[in-house]
């Protein structure tokens, strides 16, 4: 553990934590505009978090310790995951940080505990959400593994920090196949953050909800932590896509100026991506649960194609 890494941990994690709720509201705003509404303020997510933070936590009498530790655990796991994805500068990394496989497992831990806590309160909705999440995860996990494997194969390393050091050095995408991977990564963002066509984050409709069903029993401060963790997960995944496809501005050494530029660039690029996600969500209808594997298959197809093209061509 060196000083540069410590500084990185503070700046990178702090920056991601600070801006994550902004992108949640931005997507809501874009969706509202496409529907001809004015939409909430861009700071609404921050207001919501503050409001929830001040509220009392209510636990169901049936619930166990899982319900109590999950919000902290999820946020903790995702804060560790932020160390894996540099958005401001690339530090000298201690061993193990930035490894893709560890990153995937961190996301899996978060998913596992969310599903457990959905079951924990003993409500029917929570159980339904957990069962849906787990059955869809069984399909989406191979897709994620193969997408990240393709990324590792193209950039010849399993470490995110090394990957982004490679991509940050070039102005056009390092390899044409990275365009293919980006499509898979985009689909993974949509799936992992529970957006249309997979899940609808705006409703509490029994037929469609997956993510919302599991956090239905959460309240007050715990709900705030879970919402924040969700927003951070979205920002991390967006950062992976941005750093692969458009890494301009990512600093490889830390100076004050380069830090400011990197922050500004990331904010602009991520806002554009958030706008794109909002438009994508507005332009497509929610899919039937049984058609979802076909949607994941698209991501699988493009990733497998990437590996095929890289190996043979």
């Amino acid at each position: 553990m060196n000083a540069s890494f410590l500084l990185f941990a503070l700046l990178n994690t702090g920056f991601i934590m600070l801006i994550s709720p902004f992108f949640m509201s931005l997507i809501k705003k874009v969706k509202a505009y496409t529907q001809g509404r004015k939409g909430p303020s861009l700071l609404q997510s921050y207001f919501d978090l503050r409001k929830l933070m001040q509220k009392e936590v209510v636990y169901s009498p049936n619930s166990s310790g899982i319900m109590r530790i999950t919000p902290y655990l999820n946020l903790g796991v995702l804060l560790v995951a932020t160390l894996f994805v540099p958005v401001v500068f690339i530090p000298d990394t201690p061993a193990g940080i930035g490894n893709i496989i560890v990153f995937l497992y961190l996301l899996a831990i978060e998913r596992f505990f969310t599903a457990l806590c959905g079951l924990d309160a003993g409500s029917t909705f929570g159980g339904m959400g957990s069962s849906r999440l787990m059955s869809l995860s069984a399909v989406v996990e191979p897709t994620m593994v193969i997408s990240f494997a393709a990324l590792a194969y193209v950039l010849r390393t399993v470490n995110f920090h090394e990957m982004f050091a490679v991509t940050a050095g070039s102005t056009i995408p390092e390899s044409p196949t990275l365009t293919l991977i980006s499509i898979s990564l985009f689909i993974i963002i949509i799936v992992e953050t529970g957006r249309i066509p997979v899940d609808n984050p705006a409703t509490h409709l029994e037929l469609t909800m997956i993510n919302e069903a599991m956090i239905l029993e959460q309240s007050g401060k715990n709900l705030a932590l879970i919402e924040l963790a969700h927003a951070i997960k979205q920002t991390i995944l967006m950062a992976v896509l941005i750093n692969v496809l458009a890494p301009w501005g990512l600093a490889t050494e830390l100076t004050f100026a380069s830090f400011m530029i990197a922050c500004l660039f990331f904010l602009v690029k991520a806002s554009m991506l958030a706008g794109l996600i909002g438009l994508f969500e507005s332009s497509i209808a929610k899919m039937r649960l049984f058609r979802l594997p076909g949607f994941y298959m698209m991501a699988f197809f493009f990733s497998a194609l990437t590996i095929l093209m890289e190996v043979f061509a």
Partner: protein, 233 residues
């Protein structure tokens, strides 16, 4: 600025590689899109990608025929044929092809992955003696797999109009293969395009069956006693 990019062959080769990737994406979309208007748009985009590939190749190689092929493709496949099929589509009032034969989109994407691998293995055995540059070899592989994927579309789609698009995709594959490997004489390219026009025309003449699946079409022909299909009583 632009002319300096156009004179740089490595930049152009990278462009062609990116275009290959997009061609494959359109092929995947043609396999799985259900809405006919979007299907036509995807086909037109695919043809436009071929135009771009042919013109970038002209800047690399300097062969005039490539430019002529690009122009011909632009006029016929990007503009005329999609507009024409669109008019037919409006007349027969079908907007979607929902059902699939034998293979749903998900398995057919898997199968097409296998087809790409097959095309690669087959061609690498075939072109062993020739020394093709990597780019040209990849063009050949993608051309052949596009042809096979078009065949898969004809095989798995039910409505005649989508089958026609499958056939057109196959022809795009042949064109791509021709650009990169065989160096077809230009006259043959023209003949193929004329063939395509006549195919699309014929399908309109057969419009009696265009709004139906092939099986229903067969039945209708039998009811109308136009053709008894060799099952004379």
């Amino acid at each position: 600025m632009i002319s300096s990019f156009l004179a740089d062959p490595t930049f152009l080769e990278d462009m062609v590689r990116i275009l290959f990737v997009f061609v494959l994406i359109t092929a995947a979309l043609i396999l799985s899109t259900r809405n006919i208007a979007s299907l036509l748009t995807v086909y037109a985009v695919q043809s436009l990608l071929l135009v771009l590939i042919a013109s970038s190749l002209y800047f690399i190689e300097g062969n005039r025929t490539l430019l002529a092929i690009a122009a011909l493709t632009l006029v016929s496949k990007v503009l005329l044929i999609p507009i024409f099929i669109n008019i037919i589509g409006e007349k027969i009032k079908i907007s979607r092809d929902l059902k699939f034969n034998y293979l749903e989109p998900t398995p057919s994407l898997l199968v097409s992955m296998g087809l790409i691998l097959l095309a690669y293995v087959f061609l690498s055995g075939f072109f062993n003696e020739f020394i093709l540059s990597k780019l040209f070899f990849m063009g050949a592989v993608i051309g052949l797999s596009l042809t096979l994927m078009g065949m898969l579309v004809i095989f798995s789609r039910r409505k005649v109009i989508t089958k026609v698009i499958g056939y057109l995709t196959m022809e795009n594959g042949v064109l791509l293969f021709g650009i990169f490997v065989a160096d077809l004489p230009f006259i043959i390219e023209i003949l193929i395009v004329i063939d395509l026009m006549i195919l699309v025309l014929l399908t309109t003449i057969l419009a009696i069956g265009l709004d139906s699946t092939s099986e229903e079409y067969h039945q209708r022909l039998q009811t109308l006693k136009i053709w008894s299909g060799g099952e004379e009583q």
